[in-house]
Symmetry: C2
Subunit: 356 residues, 2 copies
């Protein structure tokens, strides 16, 4: 992983904002910038240096990275404020940015009280938007595990089985295939529960003639996959089969448009327009998708109002859905990589309606 390049990207960002340093606390950015995935510890990047601040549990590991970072030991006597003040004094820092979307209000207040410089909220969300080859490889592995799990569940699910039992088998299978853990709490929503876009798996038994929506993903090397498929257990009502085709066509339309230079909002618009013209516009109430990487939801949002442009190397989800109260719902979600002249799907499960 190219930590040097990533650290320089932070340096460019803070220079652009007129800041002297960045204080990084989120696990995802500590992993991205220094390979440290932990809820404790901090990375500090100044115009000249970079520091890894950890307590005794992680100090040996941090010392091993001293070609790139200066290791700083945190302890009861040497708090993060104390250590930050030493760096501030040594390098003459006046302003430091912190992750305002990630740190709690109380944590920031405590820093502000103890640290001898001005602190400003800084959004680092965009630094991870374009993925490097190693990152794409990890996401691809995470997608392959999810694809295999979907195939497995198609052979596993039986009439009368609870949604929860299906979730448990999904998770067992993904871990057995080398998934580090699940990317998020799985959604298993059958029959009328399919109308809940975020219907966590329940004790409801899955019945014949119902659609079943599975939304799940695995982590591999800390990178996430996120896939949704809706399948039928036995023949489903004709209206829902029709809804399925609308959702599939909406996703297809968005994916056909996806390439560098296209605004994210245009993808959402293309899918939303198609669903609207089919008469289901009021039943598609969420964004078309989101960025995917170390976090299951990250920059950029694939949202109607977004004028930001797709870039080669971005990985986003495309997940149109139609949710009809008291009837059911359909969502189909793929993870796509933006390439030179279009996009390539990293998830490979069939997009046609499968009846088991």
């Amino acid at each position: 992983m190219n930590f040097r390049r990533r650290i320089e990207a932070i340096r460019d960002l803070i220079a652009g904002k007129g800041l002297d340093g960045a204080f990084i606390s989120s696990p995802q950015n500590k992993y991205y910038l220094g390979g440290l995935f932990s809820s404790s510890g901090y990375i500090v990047i100044t115009r000249e240096s970079q520091y890894l601040m950890v307590d005794s549990r992680y100090f040996v590991e941090a010392k091993a990275k001293t070609d790139l970072f200066q290791a700083v030991l945190l302890s009861v006597d040497h708090s993060v404020e104390h250590r930050l003040n030493s760096i501030i004094a040594a390098e003459g820092l006046a302003t430091i940015g912190f992750e305002g979307k990630e740190l709690s209000y109380d944590a920031v207040r405590s820093l502000q009280e103890g640290v001898n410089c001005d602190l400003f909220s800084l959004d680092l969300g965009k630094i991870r938007a374009v993925k490097e080859p190693e990152e794409i490889e990890a996401i691809q592995q995470a997608c392959a595990i999810a694809d295999a799990a979907f195939r497995h569940i198609l052979g596993y699910v039986r009439e009368g089985m609870s949604e929860k039992a299906v979730e448990n088998e999904l998770l067992r299978f993904m871990r057995a295939q080398g998934g580090q853990k699940e990317s998020f709490d799985s959604i298993v929503a059958s029959g009328v529960r399919g109308a809940l876009p975020h219907g966590k798996a329940s004790d409801k038994p899955i019945c014949r003639g119902e659609l079943v929506t599975l939304d799940f993903g695995a982590k591999y090397n800390y990178y996430c996959s996120d896939i949704t498929r809706t399948f039928a257990l036995g023949k489903c009502p004709a209206e829902l089969a029709g809804v399925y085709e609308v959702v599939r066509a909406a996703g297809d339309a968005a994916m056909r448009m996806a390439k560098p230079g296209v605004a994210l909002g245009e993808l959402d618009y293309a899918a939303r327009k198609l669903i609207g013209e089919s008469g289901y516009g009021q039943y598609f109430g969420h964004n078309l998708g989101h960025g995917l990487g170390l976090q299951v939801h990250e920059y950029p949002a694939v949202a109607l109002e977004s004028g930001e442009l797709l870039r080669e190397g971005m990985v986003i989800t495309i997940e149109p859905g139609i949710y009809i109260p008291d009837a059911g719902g359909v969502r189909i979600e793929d993870d796509i990589l933006i390439i030179g002249d279009g996009c390539r799907s990293l998830t490979h499960s069939a997009r046609e309606l499968i009846t088991v």
Copy 2:
């Protein structure tokens, strides 16, 4: 669940702080106060009223609670700031407390800019410290699932099996037993990795003659268990068997002292003193324990410096450990309920060193 009593406890708290209302955003407190477990939505409690603010996905569910809460619909046109300002105007509120440890700095800044009253950070951590019978029952169920999982793993583990494979089986088993999900990422640390207090399960194979530390838990009805056991795969080195007895005695000493009115720090002191007298003081680097409930770590900390007193109905962990770098480690953790004249363990796995 006695939501009315809990809401009144919040009302007493804000009155004591001179605040006119509380804005509650954390899933654990929304569940505790209104049965809403969701990352989205808010509860607002004023001196006179209480409100459940949710978007369209949760509005039907919220409306069903209107005997207790006024349901408020959030939408693109009716943001949380907009809805809060209506309540502020209607009830003449001047000050509202928010969960400063839970809300991000940016989220608070955005509220401060949009809301027509003063906002103050408020710590609600203590309101859940004393558990009600229904809560204790849920924790007990979560503990029973963890106990069963430990017994199961003793029969499952084999020489050469990876730590990760043991973790996967732990999780599969707990979910199959009705566990909602795991309380936290499990620790499986064998051999020298036992010296890492937070050694997540790795690909390391478990070898004969090693100690294996499992630290894991299940959720049941949103309540957590958290248990640690260290067992031996074949005969372990005599020093580590001795360390085991020290750790066990330290936990026993703390549990013997636990009863209403005793300071939390005294429990930590009793365990730490015993470990120190055995010559291993430098290898016990963390607190003795923590409160347990809707969160796996919650108020109160069982820490040396804590002068706060145990109360009947508190549930805490007792988890002394000794971690010897490059040799291995032992931790034994139980979940105890403070009762009238002492404590009762909610975890029932044997505390003696088991060799499989």
